[in-house]
């Protein structure tokens, strides 16, 4: 396999300027698509319509009364008590959260009790439920206005994992609400001389708090398209390498190889080896370039980047297997039709696998088909890694990708013509 691998790598190296130009074109595509279709990816369109159950165990009026009673029994002056009472009435936290949710056009909030909300979640009638715990108003007002206590009990967001993209948006909303509450608290306290203390506070931990949902990170359009376009770039590279087999067949180079007594598998695996390397390098170049241009993954850990390299290695193996399959196909189909057929295959799997448009906006059946394409499956693995940062949760997708590779290698071996039939 060594000579074949070196030869194919050398040929690809000789065509490095073409590859580089293509890589730059793909980078430009990432920029264009990242800007123009950011709303598709960043979950602000109507396809993200969601119904959210509000399980409000808090009682605003009694919380407010309890707060007023507390300040009445304090040593504060009557003017200060009146001022704090007024502020408390204007800043009832649970009420504010519900008002924010109601103001978002793609969120429909419905008050429910705990059991009904759980049942509705199981039945997929709602996307998520938000629990506002008992005593939330009192605890939050005490912390906000009196700097008393540890803050409110946590608002809990419960969701079905399958709705994770919508949940991600909802989580952003809750997160933003809490940040606003915390910021306001910091400003209030700054006016009362505790500027330093509050400006240094971790805003997400001080007041109210929130339940983090399995460490989901939001996905940006540039992140999405960096991977979607890089995947398409490598598919096109696989096609280019496979189509070289047409010339090798036409010019009888392949026959010359056979006459040497070399096993055809060495020829196929040579192509696979070279495309593995080039895919890895091209993909890595696109990610690195995008990282510098768009600051794709700020403050990500070393573990995240190692995981990314690991997934990229697996993906490159998958492209290598696909190249073997494409190469075998070019020996089976007519020379004049080969380019068209391979392009068609790439277009179809590209569309189904979300390489041209975000998978979220595609119909469910296309999403299902896309999950079984090498590009679709790989894209979902990359996205999962970006959002969850957890390799263990990707075991099943990895196994599926491995299975897909094996199937493609077996198919390429079966399709590759036997001796005397080339």
């Amino acid at each position: 396999m060594g000579p074949f691998f070196k030869k194919d790598l050398l040929i690809l190296w000789r065509e490095r300027y073409d590859t580089l130009v293509m890589t730059i074109i793909f980078l430009i595509m990432i920029i264009i698509l990242g800007y123009t279709t950011s709303s598709w990816v960043e979950k602000k369109n109507e396809s993200l319509q969601m119904t959210v159950a509000i399980v409000n165990e808090d009682n605003d009026p009694s919380g407010l009364i309890a707060f007023k009673n507390a300040i009445a029994s304090s040593s504060l002056t009557s003017e200060a008590q009146a001022s704090l009472g007024l502020q408390a009435e204007q800043r009832l936290p649970a009420k504010s959260l519900i008002q924010i949710l109601d103001s978002i056009d793609f969120v429909k909030s419905i008050p429910m009790d705990q059991d009904a909300a759980m049942q509705a979640l199981k039945n997929k009638e709602i996307t998520a439920m938000i629990n506002i715990p008992a005593g939330f108003t009192l605890a939050t007002l005490n912390k906000m206005l009196l700097d008393d206590g540890e803050g409110g009990s946590k608002i809990t967001l419960t969701a079905d994992q399958r709705g994770s993209m919508s949940v991600d948006v909802l989580q952003d909303v809750v997160n933003e609400f809490m940040q606003q509450v915390n910021l306001q608290t910091a400003i209030d306290h700054a006016l009362v001389t505790k500027v330093d203390q509050y400006s240094k506070m971790d805003q997400t931990l001080t007041l109210g708090g929130r339940e983090q949902i399995a460490g989901i990170e939001p996905l940006g359009s540039f992140q999405y398209y960096t991977f979607a376009i890089s995947i398409i770039a490598s598919l096109i590279l696989a096609q280019t390498v496979a189509l070289k087999a047409i010339t090798e067949k036409r010019e009888h180079v392949f026959n010359r190889i056979l006459v040497t007594g070399s096993h055809p598998a060495r020829y196929l695996f040579g192509k696979a080896g070279s495309i593995f390397c080039v895919t890895f390098v091209q993909f890595a170049l696109l990610i690195v370039a995008s990282q510098f241009i768009f600051d794709l993954f700020p403050n990500r850990s070393i573990k995240f980047w190692f995981g990314m390299v690991f997934i990229l290695v697996l993906y490159s193996l998958c492209v290598a297997a696909l190249t073997m399959l494409f190469t075998s196909l070019t020996f089976r189909i007519k020379e004049s039709a080969a380019t068209g057929i391979l392009t068609l295959i790439i277009m179809v799997i590209g569309c189904a696998g979300g390489s041209f448009t975000p998978i979220y906006i595609l119909p469910d059946w296309i999403k299902y088909v896309g999950e079984w394409t090498p590009n679709g499956l790989s894209l979902s693995i990359f996205i999962s890694w970006i959002q969850h940062d957890n390799l263990a949760s990707l075991t099943v997708p990895f196994l599926r990708l491995g299975l897909l590779c094996i199937v493609m290698i077996v198919m390429s071996s079966l399709l590759f013509p036997r001796r005397g039939r080339i």
Binding site: L10, I11, R14, N255, V259, T260, R419
Partner: protein, 310 residues
């Protein structure tokens, strides 16, 4: 050493090769002649184990090549009609790749590369990319790639098609060197009779998928031993003269040439007088007449009814 036994190949109901039986003795240089579509390349593909015959067998030292293709692949070098090289690689890189898949390594591979480059006269230009070479230079590297592993048998499929005279001479010289000095067995196919006449001891003539004649040059010429060839130069073309001459009994074949006519006639006295009479009657002026012994080209024309390069 190598023989084919009633080789037959049928493609989609069309017979490309019909019961071809030929043999090559060790150290021989054998020509395989035939016009386009005669079945030469198909025969070569079957001999080199690239194509399975529909029926028949190819035997190397008595062993079936069809059943054991690896045997012939070790001792065979094939120079295909096409330039079977990687255009994006240099001459040296191409030879190194093919050498390595012939399992040559290290210094031995390096010395073989330099040896074959020297043989084809391109050692100085080994670092240049194939795509920068002229057609003739590409063909020379095409030959070099088939010689790296010191094959006992070399099959050359029209190695001089479409090249400049310098490269052609170089290739012919290389074949001579291989056969006469190194003792390599050569099967040489060509459109050019003069090449085969220069290089080959024996030859097979193929047409329409069959071998229609075979033997040494003298044996083949003897097919036309009772004939002479007349080359008649005319002042102008005359189709009427062709028709009239064909009626004459001794005239076996008439072919129009650029300057007149070429006749194959049975050896008999008086034929010249008949030709002159007919020309006079038709008011056609004969500028010149040459009489000579038929060439292998004439033999081919006689056997197939068409010229080798048709």
């Amino acid at each position: 050493m190598l023989e084919t036994i009633e080789l037959r190949k049928v493609f989609k109901g069309k017979t490309a090769v019909e019961e071809v039986s030929l043999y090559l003795e060790k150290g021989e240089s054998v020509g395989l002649l035939g016009p386009n579509g005669a079945g030469k390349s198909t025969t070569i593909s079957m001999i080199s184990s690239l194509l399975l015959p529909t029926s028949g067998d190819v035997r190397l030292n008595g062993k079936s090549v069809v059943k054991n293709p690896q045997d012939i692949r070790k001792v065979l070098g094939v120079v295909p009609q096409e330039i079977a090289l990687y255009n994006e690689l240099s001459a040296y890189e191409n030879l190194k790749f093919f050498g390595r898949i012939y399992k040559l390594k290290g210094n031995h591979l390096e010395s073989k590369i330099q040896e074959v480059l020297e043989m084809v006269g391109l050692r100085e230009r080994q670092k240049e990319l194939i795509k920068a070479f002229s057609g003739g230079m590409k063909r020379r590297i095409n030959i070099a790639a088939a010689l790296l592993h010191d094959p006992q048998i070399v099959i050359m499929d029209e190695p001089t098609v479409g090249i400049d005279p310098q490269s052609r001479n170089h290739i012919l010289e290389t074949v001579r060197l291989l056969n006469r000095e190194k003792g390599t067995t050569v099967l040489y196919t060509s459109h050019y009779m003069e090449e085969v006449e220069q290089l080959c001891n024996r030859m097979y003539i193929m047409d329409h998928g069959q071998i229609i004649a075979s033997g040494t040059q003298d044996e083949l010429r003897r097919i036309l031993s009772g004939e002479d060839t007349l080359l008649i130069q005319l002042n102008e073309p005359s189709p009427e003269l062709v028709q009239e001459l064909l009626v004459l009994d001794p005239v076996r074949q008439v072919e129009e040439t650029e300057s007149g006519l070429k006749l194959i006639v049975t050896k008999q006295s008086g034929i010249l007088a008949h030709v002159v009479q007919v020309a006079e009657r038709l008011s056609v002026q004969i500028v010149n007449i040459n009489v000579y012994t038929p060439s292998l080209e004439d033999v081919f024309l006689q056997l197939t009814g068409r010229k080798l390069r048709d």
